[in-house]
């Protein structure tokens, strides 16, 4: 239900954005591959002055401020397809496959993930992200299908940090049992030092009463999230865990490693 509401919100926001005016396109400088030594003769650039190729690379590459009409239409089409697919239960238009009880849900998730990836590719190729693309990621961060969630986190990670998205992601992870998603999200959440208290709370909860597989994953990958501020709290968590558990062993191992890093070895 939460997910369906998000999808409706996405449709509304999307409709607003699609009617907005956009400015003129500023073409990005083309990326030019440099020839490396070993693959051919040593290029002149390596001996000192930049070559014309290098000067091309050095042209300021500024993120686009707007999209041209054709790109806007392309994005609009992708957007509509995603919204329609996300709301298909309300419109009785979901893709059907009755060969297996879960087949229809899995098919819908697969198609949604593909569309989200196409949407992300579009924005990456155009080097253009805005409020709509941030909202698009947010709408699917708590999707029950792991492939859709993965695509949404990928889309989120391409963009500038967005506090609202991070809060939605944190909430979605509270009940996650997908260790791969949690691992991916932990990397993304490193971009939000201001939200570390919320992240700490999430990780502590995951370690103690979260999915058993997720708890192990958190314990193994917690090192980048440790800080002098939260060290004691996680040490207390480690003592509360079953001492013969892999989650306790991995957490204690990384707490010790953190202390070694703090002290210089």
């Amino acid at each position: 239900m939460k997910y369906l509401l998000s999808a409706v919100m996405l449709a509304l926001v999307g409709a607003l954005l699609l009617t907005a005016e956009f400015g003129q396109q500023q073409a990005p400088a083309p990326a030019t591959a440099e020839e490396k030594p070993g693959e051919a003769d040593r290029p002149a650039s390596l001996s000192g002055e930049p070559t014309p190729q290098e000067l091309t690379l050095d042209q300021p590459r500024v993120q686009r401020q707007s999209l041209d009409d054709q790109s806007r239409q392309e994005r609009g089409l992708l957007h509509r397809q995603i919204v329609e697919l996300a709301n298909c239960h309300q419109t009785y238009s979901c893709p059907q496959n009755l060969s297996d009880p879960r087949a229809s849900d899995i098919l819908q998730g697969k198609m949604l993930a593909e569309k989200l990836r196409a949407y992300a590719d579009f924005h990456r190729e155009n080097d253009y992200f805005d409020g709509e693309s941030a909202e698009m990621a947010r709408a699917f961060l708590d999707h029950p299908d792991g492939f859709v969630q993965e695509a949404a986190i990928d889309l989120m990670s391409m963009q500038a940090p967005n506090r609202d998205n991070a809060l939605v992601l944190i909430e979605a992870l509270e009940s996650s049992y997908d260790a791969k998603i949690v691992n991916q999200a932990m990397k993304e959440l490193q971009r939000y030092p201001d939200l570390q208290p919320q992240v700490d709370q999430l990780l502590a909860q995951s370690l103690q009463t979260g999915s058993l597989f997720v708890a192990q994953e958190v314990a193994l990958n917690i090192l980048p999230h440790l800080s002098p501020q939260n060290l004691q709290a996680f040490e207390e968590v480690a003592e509360k865990l079953p001492q013969n558990s892999q989650r306790a062993k991995a957490l204690k191992s990384n707490l010790r490693e953190f202390r070694l890093r703090q002290s210089g070895g």
Partner: protein
């Protein structure tokens, strides 16, 4: 004959589908695995507890020897009279499931009431019945250890993890390993169980029957089907009806002579992800008279022998063999007494590597090198899930960890790096270990993780590494970053295989920490082998071009990643300079991402360096990184000025 078996199975599978269990049809899927993928020596079965068709060899998904070693009570033996064996099997599986599902619920929800625990158990019993009639392992008449494969071979294990949707999970062992399998099933089911508490079709959270039905509808049909069981016209209503029938009838009880029977499987040990768990003995664990000769698991985590009125321990139970060699073979299984009883006795914890040194014939220690004599499956854990590739005969590997079991045979497993991944290989037993691996020279290594005496190393941390009088001892100095040192000796200690290098610096000789191997390898964050730093004819400045200056770098085994900046243009540049295999094309990459922008990567088989990757980022943070071979590194967002 094969054709006949196939036809029978198709008919049976269709029948099973019509009964609302699992169906033999496939559809376009993320993993387009064929029917009965990696299904060796398939056998049929019957539609009764413990033996539904079909079953295929555990190998190559997992190690059948490991299954026999750990899970004998829950293997259905086809060589015993069927009815007798079914009674025994159900008694054991009931005890295992009863305790496992209770453990799971209380781990997730410590405040769960007794009524909820009982309801959760019943809901899971019915689910296991609906999925596979409680079937998982079988020892067939061909004497091979098998696991159930339903749905034309796509469904793996008691909870039927489908290889078309969950292939990566199956590669991790969530099909063949019975505890991984039932935990994975419970992870999905618990999520549905929690949601069902607030479902519109469940009158109250304590309406356990309806809650179980809703949870099953989600488990079987997906998140949007939480009230499917209320719709008799749903195409899959028969599944919900079938589940309710099983929930109500509890047919499994007809086969269980004692509902209080205690399993010898160490449920907390397996549920908490441990691979090697000694059998639990049904004696009073708190009675010290029962302790001698048995493995005593202390509440503080150590595994011990009780000798001369005191505990002799290792930090982890997996290393018990070194104590058993010292004190004689364990005569029984394991006991887990309460801390209030054990705290009254003294305790000595033996360091793993010191305990094993010289104790096992022909065992190679961490840091030593071995040659693989044959192709050996590389597995995620000792005897665990196959990673899908083998060691290469004739290739030299550095031992990064070892595990030994069975005091008589002394089976040994080594952790190695192959195909860019870490995994364990079986390396034989006391009598035949040289048929599997032989000791090799350190100089024969292609990839050095732990430099040894005589090697040179370079310090990685920008703040240097403390020099101490003994490993983890008193501070006597500081070795600065990039300093090149000669290794005098290497000490490996602790359960994480911590590495300490004895070195001389500033007129003092002492030890520097070099990272850990297990629970997340950190070796390359502390030191890199310097002898691999071959002369590269190019410099980072040359690679990036005129005006660039190095502002940061990170060492990797085989080279170094550099971040450079050109103040006149505001451009950053990343290059990864090779320091091994220089002049020969090999895999190397460099990447750069400006915060809020896209990541640019240059990767390929290059002779000298990867990159330059350039982006303009005045006033913005950048994330930079690269890789050399199987080693990779990426920074956090930094250099924001």
């Amino acid at each position: 004959m094969d054709r006949m078996i196939t036809s029978i199975n198709r008919v049976a599978a269709l029948l099973f589908c019509l009964l609302g269990l699992y169906c033999p049809f496939s559809l376009a899927a993320p993993a387009d695995t064929p029917d009965y993928y990696l299904c060796n020596n398939r056998v049929g079965g019957e539609w009764n507890f413990g033996r539904v068709p079909a079953a295929c060899d555990v190998d190559p998904w997992g190690d059948p020897a490991y299954v026999i070693d750990q899970f004998v009570p829950v293997i259905f033996d086809d060589n015993v009279t069927r009815s007798t064996e079914r009674q025994r099997y159900m008694l054991e599986v009931h005890a295992m499931l009863r305790d496992s599902v209770e453990y799971y619920l209380l781990a997730r929800k410590p405040s769960a009431s007794g009524a909820e625990v009982a309801a959760w158990q019943r809901a899971n019993f019915a689910k296991a019945h609906q999925e596979t009639f409680w079937t998982h392992y079988r020892e067939a008449t061909d004497d091979n250890i098998k696991m159930v494969r339903g749905d034309s071979g796509h469904g793996h294990g008691m909870v039927q993890i489908d290889d078309r949707w969950h292939f990566p999970k199956l590669e991790e062992g969530k099909g063949w390993h019975i505890f991984e399998n039932i935990i994975y099933g419970m992870e999905l089911f618990y999520d549905a169980w929690q949601d069902a508490a607030n479902a519109s079709c469940v009158s109250s959270p304590s309406n356990w029957r309806n809650r179980a039905r809703s949870a099953y509808s989600v488990y079987n049909g997906g998140a949007s089907k939480i009230c499917r069981w209320t719709n008799p016209n749903d195409p899959w209503a028969r599944n919900d009806i079938g589940y309710a029938d099983k929930y109500d009838s509890r047919t499994w009880l007809n086969y269980i002579s004692n509902r209080d029977h205690e399993t010898t499987l160490d449920i907390p040990c397996f549920m908490e992800g441990n691979a090697d768990c000694a059998a639990v003995e049904p004696v009073d664990a708190d009675d010290p008279a029962n302790w001698p000769g048995r493995q005593i698991n202390l509440a503080s985590g150590e595994a011990c022998r009780f000798e001369n009125n005191a505990f002799e321990c290792v930090a982890e139970a997996v290393d018990m063999l070194c104590l058993n060699i010292q004190y004689g073979a364990s005569t029984g299984g394991s006991l887990s007494p309460s801390a209030s009883v054990t705290d009254a006795y003294g305790k000595t914890v033996h360091e793993k590597h010191a305990c094993f040194a010289g104790a096992v014939t022909g065992l190679s220690m961490v840091g030593q090198s071995i040659t693989s004599e044959v192709e050996i499956n590389v597995r995620a854990t000792p005897g665990g899930s196959a990673l899908g590739f083998t060691s290469q005969p004739g290739k030299v590997y550095q031992v990064l960890d070892y595990v030994v079991d069975d005091i008589d045979a002394q089976h040994r497993y080594y952790l190695i790096s192959e195909n860019g991944k870490l995994g364990y290989i079986y390396a034989g037993e006391a009598g035949d270990h040289t048929s599997w691996t032989t000791r090799a020279s350190h100089s024969g290594l292609g990839e050095v993780f732990i430099p040894l005496a005589g090697d040179q190393i370079q310090v990685v941390p920008s703040s240097g590494i403390n020099l101490r009088d003994v490993p983890a001892g008193n501070l006597i100095g500081l070795v600065p970053t990039d300093e090149i040192l000669s290794v005098i000796s290497v000490v490996i200690q602790g359960t994480d295989n911590d590495v300490y290098y004895e070195v001389s610096y500033g007129g003092k000789t002492g030890y520097i920490y070099g990272g850990k191997v297990l629970n997340g390898m950190t070796l390359q964050d502390w030191i890199v082998p310097y002898d691999e730093v071959e002369s590269n004819p190019y410099t980072p400045e040359e690679a990036c071009g005129s005006g660039y200056s190095v502002i940061n770098s990170h060492a990797l085994t085989g080279g170094r990643i550099y971040l450079l900046y050109k103040s006149s243009t505001g451009y950053n540049c990343v290059v990864t300079m090779k320091a091994s295999n220089v002049g020969t094309p090999s895999a190397v990459s460099a990447s750069l991402q400006v915060e809020g922008g896209t990541k640019a990567t240059d990767s390929g088989n290059f002779s000298y360096f990867a990159g330059p990757v350039k982006k303009r980022a005045p006033g913005s943070c950048v994330k930079w990184g690269g890789s050399i071979g199987s080693r990779s590194w990426v920074s956090s967002y930094q250099h924001c000025d």
